[in-house]
Structure formats: structure tokens, C-alpha cells
Symmetry: C2
Subunit: 328 residues, 2 copies
């Protein structure tokens, strides 16, 4: 299997994508990586490693899309960027997936434009993983679609169900609609209508509230991209906030250095799952291909996880399963 | 000053409201409390305390509105409830404020019906306090109005500004509009329009993101009640989630009991500000009177804080200041 990796994406390229790629081929036997980006940068970085040279290939893409560039302009003007050339290679079946820690908006726009939508899909979506007391769960939509039509919620629920079951290994995933109360009559007129439509899917468990997310009373947390994006970024700020307030408390308590170190260690271990820079990515669901985006600050381990996750998506044939699911 | 206290509201009545009332008169000299609720229950509870009997009075209200009752039905059918009689006493100027840990929806509905709106106010709102690394800040709307018109955001920003400055003691409070990005062109069409309107108030600092809440890059976090309610309940679940995951980490690390106790103690102190059961309430802003609601699980200390906070609102004349502010 060939997976293309954006070697010019994220805050730490080419180092982290290249190191992640090399670590990935070390972990998975049948994997070949196509590093997409400026050839000279990639070659210089590769010199730091020893690896099976047949399993790391390069696709030269001189243009670099910045993390803050306007997605539509970037995709239109930078035809020789890693994102455009990598996705084009995927479209031409030169690779089975494309993964990137780069500009999310540009990657989504280019994925829609180059790969197109899966049969029957109204809107592709970005999902995100959320740590809960029961393990990692899925939030959908994470910011790709700020407003949704009622029927689109249903499709997102179905796509999220496939992903949770096939890739995240959750046996019978349930869908919860994020709302202000549990009763069907709660929320805006739109959410009431959505509730009525979601009743038609077998694994809908009803409305859930903000407090149900960390408690994972459902496995797929469904909301529009406005709410999803705000919640995610709020959640992302929890570890640094805690470190700050707990540090302040410890100072006030005049604790000795050993105790402080122990607490910091406990905190670090406990909050690991919240650290989005270590977590791999999730593919855009509903796109005709496997196009995956990770955190801009992705570590080499995160890039490696992204690559392995993309190969899992290919092997599970999630897109065929999504098409079949949407027909129900 | 007379403050009426709902002695039949919250999860722990009459105990917590009665104890909170007695603690409040111990802290503030010129305060008299009117306990509103079933007389026999209140009298039985009062027997547990010694206090200045002239400063604790009773207004008999036999009907009890349950925490989960439909607000509109409850207010219509239970004319002799503590909420209806307490707010009526306030309307008749028998007391300067009414505070309750009871059914929020019923209290809001009755406040609108009995007290009415302040001059110039489109919609009254519920604000909520949020702990941040800079101290307690204000989120508005916390769930009273799930959808807002653009001009209403502006009024909420103005009312929140008055409350933050006059009651929370924040010198030059700034307003941030919760959105998916900082740039003016981010978000839904509605949010773009709101951004344009908010530019007209001098203390608007622009769009903020989910991560800016705990970092308090603004002092007033502005959003519709749908987002506000979801965010608040998500935030409320942080302490118990952390206790659970940190407890699990400590178990895995096989720590001794002393270290575990120290960590639990540090955690407890650090998360105190997140414990909504200890925090007093905030008045509905935009109502013609001071009607304040607290958490259903309010402790006696929270009820006491609510009473003292209500007296601060009366003394600061916040409603006159809101009326003046809305004219700008």
C-alpha cells in the first residue's frame, strides 16, 4: 500500500512528516510512503535517517501553502503545492491515501475539488476525536460546516457510525445530538426537526448535553461545525489551564520539589489523551478517497499514527461502507 | 434592605436556603430576609438555629415548584408557590430582590411575567460565571435565549459590561464574540453581521475562539444561549472528569496513600472555582427588578453568596445603569 504524506505541511516540516513516515514503515510491513513536498528539503531531512530507500519515495512539489493562507486562493494559485499534487496523485491512484498536518481549510477545499464527494453524500465533514472517561470518542462536525441542514445531520451520524465501528473499534456506537436538554422538545426549531429525522436511524440515543461529552453517554457527539469547533478549542485549552491553576495552588501550598514533580508527572500522564499534538488525524468523511488532516503541531508520533490510521481506513474500505450506509 | 429568599427551591430545601439566610444576616448588618415557602417547613428548620428573629421573616407559600416541572405550566398553575409569591412581593416593593436555587425556567418565566422587562430591553438574559486563569469572568447568554437577533447581542454585551464592572469589580471589561476564528469574516452570516454591530460599542475586542475562554482574552464571552448552555455544562463536567482520570492514573502508578491525599487536596483546591454548587447566582439581566437564580445544588454558602450578591446589585443600582447604557 502506498500512502502519500504532506512533507510541507504543519508547524514542523519537513522534520516531523519525514520522521513520522520513517517510523511508520518500521511499524507496518507492506507500507510505502510517498513524501510530497520540496525535493531538496525532503532529501536533506532524509539524510538524518537510515531506512529502506525503496519504501520512501519523493514527489516533488515546490509550492508551500502556509498554515494561515486563505484556503481557496492557496489551492487555486499553488498548483504545485504538496496538497494539490499529493491529492492529484491519490486521484490518479498512485497512492491509496494522502495525509497532512497542513492547512485544514486548504486540504478540505482541495479534497472536495480534486477527489470530489462520495456517491450520495451531501456535504463532506471533518470529525474530531475527544478524550472521555470511556476512551476516545468522535465529535462531528468539527468545523467544516458551520450550519447544517437537518438531513445532513443524519448523514454525519451515519458516517460517524461507520468510522467509530470500523476504525475506532467501538462495537455498537450510539449517536447523541448535542442540545440544551435531553427531552425531544428541547432546543431550537432546527434541532427539534433534526431529532425527528435522527429517530430514523437505529443507533440514535437521543439528545445529550454538554456534560455528557466527557461522560460519553453516547459514542458520536453530533453538532454543527460552529458548536463543534468552539467545543473542541475549549477542550484543547483544558490541559494548559489546569497546569497553570494547579501550579499556582502548589506554589501557595509551599510543596517540596519532589511532591511537585510527582504531581506534574501524574497530571502529564492523565492529560496525555487531551494533547492533540500527539493524536493522529481523521479523514474527511464523505470525500471520494482517504484524505486525512492532523493537528498543525503534530509530533512525529502523531504523523506516524495518521499514516497507520489512513492505512486502516483503506483496509477497512470505509468509503464503500459509507456509501452502503447512506442508502439506508 | 429586605431580600426575599426562595425557601422551597433547589435540591436541598428548606435546609440550605434557611442556613444561607441566617449566615447572610450574620455577615451584613442592614439586611432582613424574607423566607418564602411552606411556613411549617421553614419554622421547623429555623428551630435549629439561634438568630435575630426580627431579621428573619416568613412569607407563607404552600405550593412547591419541582426542579423538572414545565416552567410555563408551573407558573400558571402554582399561584401560591414561593417563586410567584416571592416575585409578587418584590413587585409590590416589599423586598428589594428575590433569590432562588429553584427551577430556572420557572423563575425566568415568572420574572418576565410579574416584573416585566426593563425600559429599552429586547430580551432579558441569563449570564453565568466562568472560572478562568485570570479569575471569574462572565458568559452571556447561558441558555435563556437559544437564538438571538444581531441587535440583541449588542444589548447583552452592554448589560454584561455593567454587571462585570459594577458587581464583579472588573475595571475595564472587554467583550469577545465567541466564534470559530478571530478575523471579522469568520463564522456564519449571522455572526458576521453581529461583528459589524458590536464594532459600535467601545469595549468590543473582536471575535474570540473556544480556547480564549479559560485564557480570558476578553472579560465577557458573548454567544447565543444554545452555545452558552452547551459550553457551560461541558465546563461543569471538567472537575469530575479530572478526578476520575487522575484517580485512575494514580492507581496505575501504585502511589502511597499520603501522596494520593496530597494530590486530591491540590486538585480540590485548584478546582474549587469550577464547583458551581459553591458559587452564588447572577440576576436575570434586563428584568425590571433583581431576580437571581443559583445552581440547584447550591450549598448554604452559595445561598449566602447569592443573597449578598443581590444586595450588591441593589446598592449598585445596576438596573438604572443598564437603562442608561442601552440608550447609547
Amino acid at each position: 500500500m502506498v500512502i502519500a504524506v504532506d512533507a510541507a505541511g504543519g508547524d514542523y516540516f519537513p522534520k516531523n512528516p519525514v520522521q513520522g513516515a520513517i517510523d511508520a514503515i518500521g511499524e507496518k510491513q507492506d507500507l510505502t510512503i510517498l513524501l510530497v513536498g520540496p525535493e531538496d528539503l525532503i532529501k536533506a531531512e532524509l539524510r538524518n535517517y537510515s531506512y529502506d530507500t525503496e519504501r520512501i519515495q519523493i514527489l516533488h512539489a515546490p509550492d508551500v501553502i502556509g498554515m494561515d493562507e486563505s484556503p481557496s486562493t492557496a489551492v487555486k494559485n499553488k498548483r504545485n503545492s504538496s496538497i494539490v499534487l499529493g491529492l492529484s496523485a491519490h486521484k490518479q491512484q498512485k497512492c491509496e491515501a494522502f495525509v497532512s498536518a497542513g492547512n485544514t481549510g486548504a486540504l478540505l477545499a482541495a479534497s472536495m475539488f480534486i477527489l470530489g464527494k462520495l456517491e450520495g453524500v451531501q456535504r463532506p465533514t471533518i470529525a474530531a476525536t475527544i478524550p472521555t472517561i470511556k476512551g476516545i470518542r468522535l465529535l462531528i462536525d468539527a468545523g467544516a460546516n458551520l450550519e447544517l441542514k437537518p438531513e445532513t445531520y443524519r448523514q454525519f451520524a451515519q458516517m460517524g457510525t461507520i468510522y467509530s465501528r470500523e476504525i475506532m473499534g467501538i462495537k455498537d456506537p450510539t449517536v447523541g445530538l448535542i442540545n440544551v436538554g435531553e427531552e425531544p422538545e428541547k432546543g431550537t426549531e432546527l434541532l427539534k426537526e433534526v431529532f425527528g429525522i435522527l429517530k430514523g436511524i437505529p443507533n440514535f440515543r437521543g439528545n445529550i448535553e454538554g456534560r455528557d461529552i466527557f461522560n460519553a453517554t453516547a459514542d458520536i457527539f453530533l453538532c454543527d461545525g460552529l458548536i463543534g469547533n468552539i467545543l473542541l478549542k475549549f477542550g484543547e485549552s483544558i490541559p494548559s489551564t489546569l497546569q497553570m491553576i494547579i501550579g499556582k495552588t502548589m506554589k501557595e501550598m509551599n510543596l517540596d520539589a519532589d511532591t511537585r514533580d510527582t504531581v506534574v508527572n501524574i497530571l502529564h500522564k492523565s492529560l496525555h489523551a487531551f494533547n492533540y499534538e500527539h493524536v493522529g488525524g481523521i479523514p474527511f468523511l464523505g470525500v471520494d478517497g482517504i484524505s486525512m488532516v492532523g493537528h498543525g503541531g503534530s509530533t512525529p508520533a502523531a504523523v506516524k499514527n495518521m499514516i497507520l490510521n489512513a492505512s486502516n481506513c483503506v483496509e477497512a474500505g470505509i468509503n464503500k461502507k459509507i456509501i452502503a450506509s447512506l442508502k439506508n
